[in-house]
């Protein structure tokens, strides 16, 4: 094993110390097995029971003792919406509900099921509640994401449902916004939790649509994947959705609205359903395209935190950035301790790249399909001269989100370059000689 491999082994082993403790694992596994087994049993039962009484819920949660701590999903991947909320789960589906709700075992003509709500009466009468259904046997009266007033004259609540994984999640409360917020949080383990507490109505391209601020993911989130787009087409000929990313990453909805097709790409299927359900035509229009590229920023009216787009390693043009062609290079510490910028250019797996590889005895094709090679003389560079700096992977001080470009203290570059043989790939944008932005580039 090489020195590098030994260091890697030590680092991974050291990180493993941060793993959670194993207490309660057997109990949790037993509970999860029980949920899975009961759901399998319930799916068969629900198909029969639906004919005589609806709705009927698929069993959720654990042993039915109502212990509040068992309600809370073991889902540390997200934070609950502001306020006292809790996460409940059925299998791998998670939903955030108010913290003072409980889980109740309800008897539906001999079929016992569990429903969440503020009181047993509210839950078991389906007045104010959350329930999970096996989606294969769920027989809705409206489309997913539609939140409508209850038809019962004595019930002034608002009801709706969404899909998450293999389940349908249905809820009703006396507050339309609360119902929508609960449903917006429905997700499958591993997906981000959407905060549906703040929504904005946007009009563009002849449609009106409601979207949670920053798609419910916060101002720091990468919102590039999410959009509401309009495309031409006949009703019986839906367009091919241009995949903005792997379909597993987004919830996608498609609907025909006043002579055009509207598509929604959202962080979860539940949110895609909810957003799509709000789309309505505001005027006759033949416009096509997507409703604002920077949906989240546009909704809040906030300016980007940095003027130029590092593109997480591949700089991209951005309106307002004064330098369309940033200098690329490696930032390192020179022999005198000062920071030095060595310009590089990027070769690809093409004729030029192959010729360079042959000439220099390098492996070809290049790993990751490109290779950065020196181009020009190194020069002293002071990160503190930049007006704004961003990090991506090495410069991550205080950054707790997924890997993405984010503002950092420009002094972090110098702090990170503690070793003379380390270097950080960067882009430098200038305007009349002034460094307007220094960004670390993610160049795997």
């Amino acid at each position: 094993m090489s020195d590098f491999e030994e260091r890697l082994s030590a680092v991974i082993a050291g990180q493993a110390d941060d793993a959670p403790q194993g207490g309660g694992l057997a109990e949790a596994a037993r509970r999860r097995h029980g949920v899975r087994r009961r759901r399998q049993l319930a799916v068969g039962a629900v198909a029969v029971v639906l004919a005589i009484t609806a709705p009927v819920v698929v069993l959720a949660g654990g042993g039915g003792d109502g212990a509040r701590d068992e309600l809370v999903g073991n889902d540390g991947t997200s934070t609950a919406p502001t306020g006292e909320w809790q996460t409940v789960e059925d299998g791998d589906v998670r939903v955030a509900i108010p913290g003072d709700w409980g889980r109740f075992s309800c008897d539906f003509d001999g079929f016992e099921s569990e429903v969440f709500g503020p009181t047993e009466v509210d839950a078991c009468d389906f007045r104010t509640y959350l329930a999970f259904y096996g989606s294969a046997t769920f027989d809705p009266f409206a489309g997913p994401g539609v939140i409508s007033a209850n038809e019962d004259a004595d019930d002034h609540g608002w009801s709706g449902y969404v899909y998450a994984g293999d389940l349908a999640v249905t809820s009703s409360t006396g507050d339309r916004e609360l119902t929508r917020r609960i449903l917006a949080s429905a997700r499958v383990a591993g997906q981000p939790e959407v905060d549906g507490s703040e929504w904005r109505t946007v009009e563009d391209l002849g449609i009106r649509v409601d979207v949670p601020e920053f798609w419910g993911l916060g101002a720091e989130a990468d919102l590039e994947l999410y959009a509401v787009c309009v495309a031409p087409g006949e009703r019986d000929d839906p367009p091919e959705l241009e995949p903005k990313a792997d379909v597993d990453e987004v919830g996608v909805g498609l609907s025909y609205v006043s002579g055009r097709w509207v598509s929604v790409s959202a962080p979860t299927q539940a949110l895609g359903d909810l957003v799509m359900a709000t789309v309505e035509a505001t005027a006759a229009s033949s416009a096509i395209g997507c409703v604002r590229d920077d949906f989240g920023d546009g909704l809040s009216g906030a300016e980007p935190a940095f003027p130029c787009d590092p593109g997480f390693g591949a700089p991209k043009p951005r309106a307002g950035c004064p330098d369309p062609a940033p200098d690329l290079g490696w930032l390192s510490r020179g022999s005198g301790g000062q920071l030095v910028l060595q310009p590089f250019r990027t070769l690809h797996n093409d004729a030029e790249g192959e010729a360079y590889a042959q000439e220099n005895g390098l492996e070809y094709p290049f790993s990751n399909d490109y290779l950065d090679v020196p181009a020009g003389a190194p020069a002293a560079f002071d990160p503190l001269s930049a007006q704004v700096c961003t990090g991506a992977i090495a410069i991550r001080a205080g950054h707790r989100g997924p890997l993405e470009d984010h503002v950092v203290d420009c002094a972090d570059f110098g702090a990170a370059l503690t070793r003379r043989d380390s270097r950080i790939p960067v882009a430098v944008w200038r305007d009349d000689g002034v460094v307007v932005q220094l960004s670390e580039l993610y160049r795997p």
Partner: protein, 171 residues
């Protein structure tokens, strides 16, 4: 490093989980990169092992069997919910490094871990099994269900990326 294969095998599921659960969580943690997903992966594997525990506990190496279930659960989880970017480790610059790797500068340790977390899932899995579990290539191949050559390629490419991230040349 956790040696999940060296101890006698308790017959009871709860006893076995009490003895081996932490090691499984550690493996899942370095595979997934965060505590919640690690718990999710291990609970999923154990919940599937539970109904078959009588058979599994009689195997020559039940540890390896469940470890494989954890890796498979991770792979399944990743394939189902894979993200464009890997979640990063929760690291801070004031972090104090202890135990293995204490000879490394904390910044280097942080960068190397972050770079490891940023590897594509298949490469990261291969690297973790190779350099954390210390498995041979053929063992990793058997565990992940791919050819040994594929494992070698994944490890090699992963190491190359990590070296590049750390600004080091191939040896």
């Amino acid at each position: 490093m956790d040696d999940v294969g060296a101890r006698p095998v308790p017959a009871a599921f709860d006893d076995w989980v009490a003895a081996r659960g932490s090691a499984l969580l550690r493996l899942a943690y370095v595979l997934t990169g965060n505590a919640a997903d690690a718990e999710d992966v291990v609970q999923d594997a154990l919940s599937r092992a539970l109904p078959r525990w009588d058979q599994i506990s009689r195997l020559d190496d039940p540890d390896a069997y469940v470890r494989r279930m954890v890796v498979n659960a991770h792979t399944s989880w990743w394939r189902k919910f894979r993200r464009r970017e890997s979640p990063a480790a929760d690291v801070r610059t004031d972090e104090v490094v202890t135990g293995p790797g204490e000879g490394l500068h904390s910044d280097e340790r942080r960068r190397l871990w972050a770079a490891c977390q940023a590897l594509p899932a298949d490469q990261r899995t291969a690297v973790v099994l190779r350099y954390y579990e210390q498995l041979e290539y053929d063992e990793i191949a058997a565990l992940t269900g791919v050819r040994e050559g594929t494992v070698r390629s994944r490890v090699s490419r992963g190491i190359a990326v990590l070296r590049q991230e750390m600004g080091e040349r191939d040896e």
